[in-house]
């Protein structure tokens, strides 16, 4: 059985598992949803039901085609834009008009749309004298009208001489309906791979650089932050979609509050993170992390942001410098000459210290826990003078922030 290191490991697993979790919705929900939304939805059926008479169906068809045309609009950079509807005919207005049961009002609006539409058709046709597309049958169905419209547009594109009013309704343009791109993720994080798919084969471009030919898909590794426009081209049409590659940058600020106490925070105040000291989780979901670090050496402080989609772990290092020092000598010359008269260990910044000196037979001749005292060459500093020769000093000490050490040093006692 797999064990979790801590609750946060479990939570991450839970998050990953449940975020994309799916449970089939109960079958009866759709009917309630559809019933509640049908008043504003189902425009076409409502309209046709309302204007059942043959005389009105033409106008209804014209009006509906206007709406349907908006429905299939695809943003397309290279296709010159052709405005289908006056800007004022936005969706809200149409819906409002439709839900209004006053016939006169609807008729008025229809006139506007009809005018706008026929005017457009005329321009397109006058420009394209060779246009052999059949003139729309006024009673044709909505679908037919849409497709004939698309043909028209393509025609004028190929003709290349349309100077249509493209000033202020950029997204409303008509492209070929065949090509469409599905991106696996429209807002990927840096480093992720986005898969783009299309039902039709074509050549793929990312920011105008061709990456694949005659393919139905493209795998794109996000290596740079920002917007990437993907285009898919084939002989007849072109479509594009934009993906915004996101990244999250933050760094850790560290501050030594006082002796061996450190405080770390992320420079972005809205970010909270799980904090690790030397890869051990110390604190969860915090913006600031305060800790004691005493161990000499380099320590890693890692923040794993928990409330940022594109966040990667952020790491910083704190080095605790050696505060203690020790110098050990191996020769001393007792005597009153004022130099090297006692055997001493130079130590500073220590937690504890002890020294024991043994002669060659293993008999202790000196012991102390005070490094400043030193051995003067006499038995326990007060007895007989020890002979010249080799002695062994066992020195144990712990410098600040370091592990205990123990050393055996051979020292030579030399008297002149």
């Amino acid at each position: 059985m797999k064990k979790f290191k801590d609750i946060s490991e479990f939570e991450n697993l839970l998050k990953d598992t449940l975020q994309g979790h799916s449970t089939p919705a109960p079958p009866d929900v759709w009917s309630s949803v559809a019933a509640s939304t049908s008043q504003s939805a189902g425009l076409l059926s409502q309209v046709t039901a309302y204007f059942g008479s043959a005389t009105n169906i033409i106008k209804v068809a014209l009006f509906a085609s206007g709406i349907a045309a908006v429905g299939i609009v695809i943003y397309n950079e290279n296709t010159p834009e052709i405005i289908l509807l006056p800007k004022t005919q936005n969706k809200e207005q149409q819906v409002a008009i439709l839900s209004d049961k006053e016939k006169t009002k609807i008729e008025n609006t229809e006139t506007t749309i009809t005018t706008a539409y026929t005017a457009k058709t005329n321009t397109a046709e006058s420009k394209n004298t060779s246009n052999t597309a059949p003139k729309e049958d006024k009673s044709s169905s909505v679908e037919e009208r849409v497709s004939s419209k698309t043909n028209e547009t393509k025609y004028s594109v190929n003709d290349g001489n349309n100077k249509t009013d493209k000033q202020d309704v950029p997204p409303i343009s008509v492209a070929a309906t065949k090509l469409s791109i599905i991106a696996s993720n429209l807002n990927p994080c840096l480093g992720e791979t986005v898969v783009l798919k299309s039902a039709e084969k074509g050549n793929w471009f990312a920011n105008d650089r061709q990456l694949a030919t005659n393919s139905t898909f493209l795998e794109y590794k996000c290596t740079q932050e920002g917007k990437v426009v993907f285009k898919l081209k084939n002989e007849v049409s072109i479509t594009s979609t934009a993906v915004y590659i996101q990244t999250f940058k933050s760094s850790i600020r560290s501050k030594e509050i006082n002796d061996s106490e450190f405080s770390y925070s992320l420079d972005d105040k809205s970010v909270i993170a799980n904090w690790f000291l030397d890869n051990v989780l110390q604190e969860t979901n915090a913006h600031v992390f305060t800790t004691q670090i005493q161990q000499v050496g380099e320590h890693s402080i890692k923040a794993v942001p928990v409330n940022q989609l594109c966040a990667v772990p952020i790491e910083t290092k704190t080095t605790i410098r050696r505060r203690g020092s020790i110098e050990i000598f191996d020769v001393f010359t007792p005597g009153a000459d004022g130099s090297n008269d006692t055997y001493k260990v130079d130590i500073s910044g220590y937690d504890n210290f002890s020294i024991q000196i043994f002669n060659a037979e293993g008999k202790m001749v000196y012991a102390s826990q005070n490094p400043d005292e030193g051995w003067n060459g006499k038995l326990y500093n007060i007895g007989n003078e020890c002979f010249n020769g080799i002695y062994i000093a066992t020195i144990s000490y712990t410098l600040n922030g370091e592990t205990p050490q123990s050393k055996n040093i051979k020292i030579t006692l030399k008297r002149p």
């Binding site: 059985m1 797999k2 064990k3 979790f4 290191k5 801590d6 609750i7 479990f10 939570e11 697993l13 839970l14 998050k15 598992t17 449940l18 975020q19 979790h21 799916s22 449970t23 089939p24 919705a25 109960p26 009866d28 929900v29 759709w30 309630s32 949803v33 559809a34 509640s36 939304t37 049908s38 504003s40 939805a41 189902g42 425009l43 709406i67 908006v70 429905g71 299939i72 609009v73 695809i74 943003y75 969706k91 809200e92 819906v95 469409s180 791109i181 599905i182 991106a183 993720n185 429209l186 807002n187 798919k197 039902a199 979609t241 915004y244 809205s270 909270i272 979901n285 409330n307 989609l309």
Partner: protein, 180 residues
């Protein structure tokens, strides 16, 4: 969940915001599973989750024309379903008051001792959390809201939010004691 490979999400959304019922049906088919899971995580039982799901989709339909294509559509929808779940909970008068949650009454059936921790077991674990803890836990851990956002949504203080999260964690840790 069945994802349509042949329909461009953007055109679906655009068609839907123009009142195309078929496009809306398609969106429902694609996303209802994920959204139902969200509702199940937040609500007390399947009936409530169904209500939240229904309310959520009505909101999606009414507001889809406001979707700006700046973020992921699924993310936008998820927020709507979290909101509609919270609204329903609030309608039933949410008891976030800590004192009302007696820890002795917590169900112990959720304890998972053996086997693997699959998605269904995780769902069960979350669902068994008492409502107050569960809401905060869901929002913070699974759906990525901050304590600040949670405090705004639930009209509780940030520290209450943190306390609730802490208790949820403690509870889960207890249930999963053999897993650590």
């Amino acid at each position: 969940m069945s994802t349509s490979e042949s329909h461009d999400e953007i055109s679906l959304i655009k068609a839907c915001s123009n009142g195309d019922n078929k496009a809306f049906r398609r969106i429902y088919e694609i996303h209802s599973g994920t959204m139902y899971s969200i509702c199940l995580r937040y609500m007390n039982n399947e009936d409530e989750a169904k209500d939240a799901l229904q309310e959520g989709f009505i909101k999606v339909f009414k507001n889809i024309s406001k979707f700006k294509f700046t973020g992921s559509f699924e993310g936008w929808m998820k927020r709507i379903f979290v909101n509609s779940s919270i609204e329903l909970i609030r309608k039933r008068k949410m008891h976030l008051d800590v004192s009302e949650l007696n820890s002795n009454e917590l169900p112990l059936t959720a304890k998972i001792e053996t086997g693997s921790l699959d998605a269904e077991k995780m769902m069960t674990l979350v669902q068994q959390l008492p409502e107050g803890y569960r809401t905060v836990f869901n929002m913070f851990i699974v759906d990525g809201y901050s304590h600040k956002e949670i405090s705004d949504y639930l009209e509780i203080s940030e520290s209450t939010s943190k306390t609730q999260l802490f208790k949820a964690r403690k509870q889960l840790q207890e249930w999963l004691q053999d897993w650590f």
